[in-house]
């Protein structure tokens, strides 16, 4: 088990946009934060289904949370600048609790590549995945 200082959950502050969507921290998977959001009118696109933008918002936030968690462990606190996000929608997001966790595929000094998965009932059947490229600029 990791100490409190190493616990990424302790360092995780979700941005106003994530909190407004109803995204919160669910727990950890492999030491990385699992974010979750419930279904509500704020999330709804087609009647009874997730809006693609809301799904992307969950994926993006999970990606940033994973990166922050790893950076905190390394004692780094750079400003993060999004370069791009590519989202694959695999199945309709139904009116259910939805989870997402990011994995750091590559962490360099100036850039990071992160793969994110979102799922509902079945952890093995993602409803959407995303790849994020993020630039990191050290603060002065």
């Amino acid at each position: 088990m990791s100490s409190t200082q190493d616990d990424p959950a302790a360092a995780l502050v979700l941005p106003p946009y994530a909190r407004a969507l109803g995204i919160s921290l669910h727990g950890l998977e492999g030491g990385l934060p699992v974010l979750t959001v419930g279904f509500s009118s704020v999330i709804e696109g087609r009647p009874g289904a997730f809006h693609g933008g809301a799904t992307a918002g969950l994926l993006e936030n999970a990606g940033y949370a994973a990166l922050r968690a790893v950076l905190v462990r390394e004692g780094r606190n750079p400003q993060l600048k999004p370069v791009n996000i590519t989202v694959q929608f695999l199945a309709a997001g139904k009116q259910k609790q939805t989870f997402a966790v990011g994995r750091i595929t590559r962490l360099g000094r100036r850039n990071a590549n992160i793969a994110v998965e979102a799922w509902q009932d079945d952890r093995e059947r993602p409803i959407a995945t995303a790849i994020l490229n993020i630039l990191m600029a050290e603060r002065d």
């Binding site: 502050v13 941005p15 106003p16 946009y17 994530a18 909190r19 407004a20 969507l21 009118s41 704020v42 999330i43 709804e44 696109g45 087609r46 809006h51 693609g52 933008g53 809301a54 992307a56 918002g57 993006e60 936030n61 600048k81 999004p82 370069v83 791009n84 996000i85 590519t86 989202v87 694959q88 929608f89 695999l90 199945a91 309709a92």
Partner: protein, 166 residues
């Protein structure tokens, strides 16, 4: 006794979309459209910030803006209201939006096939020649225009994703 259904009109449809669900919550507004494109606006809002200490919109709502403008550009191009699902959406961020600036998303549907639609567009905060982001996406038809009657699901459902047909 079936009357011919009206051609999809993004200006009219926006009156509904911008009052309900995720788009309504974001406060998306209709701006303009052409034969194969739609332009929507995401107003600046305090609680949509990406960072606590900077008055800049998060990138997430920009994805939502572009996803919505994409869908509407497809319906506008096809002229009907076929249910569609996003298969793949890519957003390249050129720069942060300006502080307290609304973001305008303009997306065109440049190609449709029987079951796929391809879109591209830009997001900007006042000057279309200095975009905040570029987007590209592929959508899939998942049923028929509900105004034609029942919507058959099953073989056309999202699980059988494939876009190469003509």
């Amino acid at each position: 006794m079936s009357s011919p259904k009206a051609r999809f009109n993004p200006a009219e449809a926006s009156k509904f979309f911008t009052k309900h669900g995720h788009s309504g919550w974001l406060g998306l507004r209709y701006r303009d459209h052409g034969e194969n494109w739609v332009e929507l606006e995401l107003p600046w809002r305090e609680d949509l910030l990406g960072e606590e200490d900077r008055a800049v919109l998060a990138s997430g709502p920009i994805v939502s803006l572009m996803d919505m403008a994409s869908g509407m550009s497809i319906w506008t191009t096809k002229g009907d209201f076929t249910p569609i699902a996003t298969l793949d959406l890519r957003v390249d961020y050129q720069r942060p939006a300006k502080e307290r600036a609304a973001v305008i998303g303009r997306v065109e549907c440049y190609r449709t096939t029987k079951s796929a639609a391809f879109v591209r567009g830009i997001a900007h905060d006042g000057d279309p020649d200095d975009p905040v982001a570029h987007v590209a996406g592929v959508f899939m038809t998942i049923g028929r225009d509900p105004r034609q009657g029942k919507v058959p699901m099953g073989k056309d459902a999202a699980s059988s994703a494939g876009t190469g047909d003509e």
